[in-house]
């Protein structure tokens, strides 16, 4: 057996798994997206009507605009929070095991389910919730703030809460691989703390930031549940519209919508990965 054969053999299991569980289902989705549906049954056909209906509808545009708005807001907040949490963990906590301990602490919310974490926001944000009661008691407001719950604010808040960890991890990873000698050099060259942050840390954590952004943006774009619950059903997303289709067995339009979303996400990821060498990111630099 030549080494080449050997590597093919080693690749085979993963390739099979990917083909079977990723590629094949995707092909089915693409095929079904051309089918027709009469409300009770799905009819095999080759028809572009699902696509033309989707692409010519103002609903699609408004759903995507809403989704982009949520994605950008969540991305911006989680980037700032994620960056500084990682920065603190890597550069301010001297003891490595304490840093790792704190890092693990960041993952604690993930020990409970998404649903519970999200629903636990309700008693905090509701009209008679913690925040409103506190503000009322302090005399800062005289009527409860209703914008806290069932609004864009609560949706983005839940997203940030859920997804910031996906920003922290890759940034933490990039930062901890920055050679400490660079800081000494920066100080010798007369750079202050802020200048070092801007000129040394930021450029070297670029790849972590891009990876984190990919995670956060794709998670927001694929969500339907958070938006449904936190907006109190007052807002829809691309995927929740898809879900409403599936719920009455309109599989073909849902499949077409999935294909379009997939294409958009693929383009987005291709563009973003031009800024980062994932392979390089995974190799341990010494």
């Amino acid at each position: 057996m030549t080494p080449q054969h050997k590597s093919w053999l080693q690749l085979a299991p993963l390739t099979l798994v990917l083909l079977l569980f990723v590629a094949v289902p995707l092909v089915f989705v693409v095929i079904v997206s051309f089918f027709r549906s009469d409300g009770f049954d799905t009819i095999p056909a080759f028809s572009l009507e699902n696509y033309t209906a989707l692409l010519s509808s103002s609903l699609t545009l408004s759903l995507y605009l809403k989704m982009i708005k949520y994605a950008l807001m969540t991305w911006a907040v989680s980037l700032v929070v994620g960056f500084f949490v990682a920065y603190f963990l890597v550069f301010h906590v001297r003891n490595r095991s304490v840093a790792i301990g704190l890092f693990l602490l960041c993952t604690v919310p993930f020990w409970t389910s998404n649903v519970i974490r999200m629903i636990s926001w309700m008693p905090v944000l509701a009209e008679q919730g913690v925040i409103n009661s506190a503000l009322l008691a302090l005399g800062l407001i005289d009527t409860p703030l209703r914008i806290l719950l069932f609004s864009d604010f609560s949706v983005v808040l839940a997203y940030v809460h859920l997804f910031t960890i996906f920003m922290i991890v890759p940034i933490f990873n990039s930062m901890s691989r920055i050679d400490r000698k660079l800081f000494e050099a920066a100080r010798d060259a007369g750079a202050g703390r802020f200048k070092t942050l801007m000129l040394v840390v930021l450029p070297l954590t670029n790849s972590g930031v891009v990876l984190g952004s990919i995670f956060v943006v794709t998670l927001v774009m694929g969500d339907f549940y958070v938006v449904k619950v936190m907006s109190g059903g007052g807002s829809a997303s691309v995927v929740s519209a898809m879900y409403d289709n599936v719920s009455t067995l309109l599989f073909p339009p849902a499949a077409a919508s999935a294909v379009i979303l997939l294409l958009i996400l693929t383009v987005l990821i291709v563009v973003l990965t031009r800024f980062v060498d994932v392979r390089q990111e995974l190799v341990q630099r010494s």
Binding site: F150, G232, G233, A241, V246, S247, T248, L250
Partner: protein, 440 residues
């Protein structure tokens, strides 16, 4: 039981059932292995190792009912819950992973179009003649039931064991066996609303701006909206359960306008959400299910299920629904026999009493009656004054002596159905427009 003695096989079944009753009454002893009577034990061994998967929405397919059935029948009933859309998707995409599909009338229509079911032999259903005529003949209290939307009567019968198509009018074979039903209406907080609500238009009354919520399951949410618009006098629908594109447009445009004015505080898609919205005081008036009102009352918070009986001008009326059990095509042999045992157990009274205490109804009230106190039956089914403190199934008192159930008796509710849960011919268009309302 007369129609059961025509073949030896069904004779055997009838015998089994008789013994089953005896078995149920001594269930504890029999399960403990005390051979108080021999035959039920043999019967139980017959079905040993059989597991039936009964799948459907949480309010219809309840774990406690499955546990009781397993105990009484001696074989395992596994209850699995999915939401409305996930369950119909499961029935369609993985029919062999389901034994008994729990469906609403409109879902039966979908399942029949795809050939997923087998006919249920009505002769093997002991209490078949005890089923309310709402379902079997489509006439109730001397009135033909509403045919707006998809009534259970309309989809109940099929042509034979193969269940090739839905046949209207009484037939010996059934597509589904109704098991739990109710009428949906508005729910409101009397302490916040301050007056009686008996009309759907109150849902869209500007007085409740920012304090109203609507049901976010497109095919039935739009009917609640239609009821409100019709009540306000905006238009009269040809069929609220099967709207034309124009009617859909008018309805959705009105909803969007209301939403832009900030009328809706939220919309809900699960039972629990509706309870939470009402109990927390975020919402004063909303589309609501009768048991959700009960659940709010259980928390000690006042809540009323609006009695929206049909008025003399023909407006108002409840939105009715009914869940029933269907046998999936793949069932055969012993498993099919076990399924019939289970269907018959369902009609034997325990389930009817159980669901009544949650505010629902069983299609066979006469057996449910045998498992309830007379005060309970009078309160829940007959709409009479509570002769005793009425407790929920969890033992919480929910009605004081002398109070009466909102909406009155079963007969009052069900002779006042305006429309039934449905799927429209213009469903695809409707869902798209509904999403425009959501995204607005």
């Amino acid at each position: 039981m007369k129609h059961e003695i025509d073949t030896p096989a069904s004779l055997e079944n009838a015998d089994r059932r008789g013994l089953l009753k005896a078995a149920a009454s001594v269930a504890g002893a029999a399960l403990a292995g005390v051979p108080s009577i021999g035959f039920p034990q043999i019967m139980k061994r017959d079905f040993q190792g059989i597991t039936l998967r009964h799948i459907g929405v949480s309010y219809a397919v309840q774990r406690e009912i499955g546990e009781q059935a397993s105990k009484d029948l001696g074989f395992k009933i596994e209850m699995q819950n999915l939401d409305t859309s996930a369950s119909i998707t499961r029935f369609v995409t993985q029919p062999n992973s389901v034994d008994i599909a729990d469906m609403e009338g409109w879902q039966v229509k979908v399942a029949m179009a795809r050939g997923l079911l087998q006919g249920i032999d009505s002769k093997k259903i002991k209490e078949f003649d005890g089923i309310l005529p709402i379902f079997t003949t489509g006439v109730y209290e001397g009135r033909k039931i509403s045919r707006q939307g998809i009534s259970p009567y309309e989809v109940m019968y099929t042509d034979g064991p193969e269940a090739k198509k839905i046949v209207e009018g009484q037939q010996p074979w059934l597509t589904f066996l109704p098991q739990v039903f109710n009428a949906d209406s508005l729910g409101y907080r009397p302490d916040k609303v301050g007056r009686e609500v008996t009309e759907w238009k109150d849902l869209i009354d500007p007085k409740f701006s920012g304090r109203a919520a609507i049901l976010d399951i497109p095919n039935i949410g739009i009917m609640d909206a239609a009821q409100a618009l019709e009540s306000r006098g905006d238009l009269v629908y040809g069929n609220k359960g099967n709207m034309t594109r124009k009617e859909i447009d008018i309805t959705i445009n009105a909803l969007i306008e209301l939403k832009k004015k900030g009328h809706f505080r939220a919309s809900w898609s699960t039972f629990e959400q509706s309870v939470e919205l009402m109990a927390s005081g975020e919402v004063f008036i909303q589309s609501m299910w009768s048991p959700a009102v009960t659940a709010v009352l259980e928390k000690g918070i006042p809540c009323i299920y609006a009695p929206v009986a049909i008025k003399s001008n023909g407006k108002e009326g409840y939105r009715g629904w009914c869940n029933g059990m269907s046998l999936m095509k793949h069932l055969s042999g012993k498993k099919l026999e076990a399924a019939y045992e289970y269907l018959n157990w369902y009609y034997s009274g325990w389930q009817g009493a159980y669901v009544a205490r949650h505010g629902y109804y069983s299609p066979v009230p006469r057996t449910a009656k045998s498992q309830m106190t007379s005060a309970e039956f009078d309160y829940w089914y007959l709409g009479k004054l509570a002769a005793d403190i009425i407790k929920s199934d969890h033992g919480q008192p929910i009605a004081v002596v002398g109070s009466v159930r909102d909406g009155g008796s079963l007969a009052q509710r069900f002779s006042n159905i305006a429309c039934w849960n449905t799927v429209m011919d213009e469903n695809q268009y409707m869902v798209q427009r509904w999403n425009e309302f959501k995204a607005a």
